[in-house]
């Protein structure tokens, strides 16, 4: 992973935001390099679990971007996505993920500049937060035999 320590994943719909990111590229708009884009047909395809899985596997920030309301290529995809993603963003803190680490946004195919700004802003938000390390302590049982310290923190350390 380049461009610093953090790892960012973007889930972009093919029709608007991915094209918007293309537009930013075509216009040679400089952006931070931490973002890795996954192309999907629609934000309606973004399973909230995919976002959480990304965090679990080591992402430090996840950005979902799709068509503006009313512009969905599939008419309704982003309306459903909006409800799912808004709920997800409200649950982030409960899972112990700083809410800033997850963002969803609507960027059209013509908004290359907006994409570039969004990536830049998002990256700059996450950088000071650093690594998330959500599931870093997932020690397997057989590791316990290496000593008690491997698997579980004492209550005193928890706070």
């Amino acid at each position: 992973m380049s461009g610093g320590d953090i790892k960012l994943v973007g889930f972009l719909c093919n029709w608007c935001s991915y094209a918007g990111a293309d537009m930013a590229g075509t216009s040679r708009m400089a952006q931070p390099a931490e973002m890795r884009i996954v192309r999907l047909p629609c934000t309606g395809r973004v399973n909230p679990l995919l976002v959480l899985k990304a965090f679990q596997e080591g992402a430090d920030g996840v950005l979902v971007s799709g068509c503006h309301p009313g512009d969905c290529h599939y008419n309704e995809g982003n309306y459903y996505a909006h409800r799912r993603l808004e709920l997800l963003s409200r649950m982030m803190a409960v899972y112990g993920i700083e809410p800033e680490r997850f963002r969803y946004t609507w960027i059209s195919a013509s908004e290359g500049a907006r994409w570039a700004e969004t990536v830049t802003g998002f990256t700059e938000t996450i950088r000071p937060l650093g690594r998330l390390n959500l599931a870093g302590g997932g020690a397997r049982d057989d590791d316990h035999h290496q000593g008690p310290a491997a698997g579980s923190a004492s209550p005193a350390e928890k706070r």
Binding site: R140, D141, D142, H144, G147, S152, S154, P155
Partner: protein
Amino acid sequence: MKFIASDRIDGLLERLGERGPVWAPREPEGAAGTVLFAPWRPGDAVELDRFTTLSAKKLVLPASEKLLSFSYSLTPEGEALDITGADQGRGDTVLFGARVCDARAFTVLDALLALPPGESYQDPGYRSRRRNLLVITLACTAGDAACFCSSWKEGTASTQGSDLMLYPAGEGYLARSVSPRGEELLALDIWEDSDLEPPELAVTDRVPFEALEAKLVGSLFSDLDFWRELTAKCVSCGYCTYTCPTCYCFDMYDEMSSSRDGERCRSWDACMFYLYTLETSGHNPRPTIAHRYRNRIGHKFSYYPANQGPVLCTGCGRCIRGCPVGLDIRDVLRAAGER
């Protein structure tokens, strides 16, 4: 007999800790009163009055365990594959505060997983852990309504699987070694001499199951209605199998750590799960809860005794205490006995 006062238990554990990690019954914070065998460190409170929810089996059969690691690489001759076995070299681990039923469970599992070479399958992970495990058992002066270890001949007096027995007495515990390794422990200078008499041990519920071995492959097997009726409230979770000190079934799977490297692992699995026996064709030989429960009881009280000798149960009562729907294995055994 040797004796140790309750307030010196911490000292004992500290000394035991010199031999390796010490696991003892503890109540973790924020666990709603659950008592578990957990790694003990100085300062941790030990809970010796209440029973643990989970058995100590993970000390010999970890919930997840690496079996092999593998790695692919690209060579001029094409792809190469490298496989290495898990390192089974390890030091001692001390289990402190096991109960008779927990300790005896190790000997039950030994019958399959650690018989002398040539006599049975040798499980390298199990054998290594078992060989390096010191078991200090606390004898029970009281059971609860779920205990039924007295169904076995020696009941609470059994010392099988233990290295050292502790008996509550006075303001502490009398100690008796039941193995050479236990003898080594008694040689520690932390023990006092005492004239206290060992206490009277608990007598728990007795469930007759001797007749089941034949029945469970015969008349009872074909009587699916019997199993349907008894398991009507079962929701098919894995609680009973995972808390059981003798259930050993497992799943195998591969985990990739990069695109070319990974591990082959095994994890606990439960015969109560539908997926456990589901074939890729969609066929499932144990499609309903009744089928699966029948296999569970059959395995414990008939197939295992027939193949390995001991009954695959020690009467610890864990599957009864926490069953989400209050299913009591003793009801099933008794009903089976009456058929």
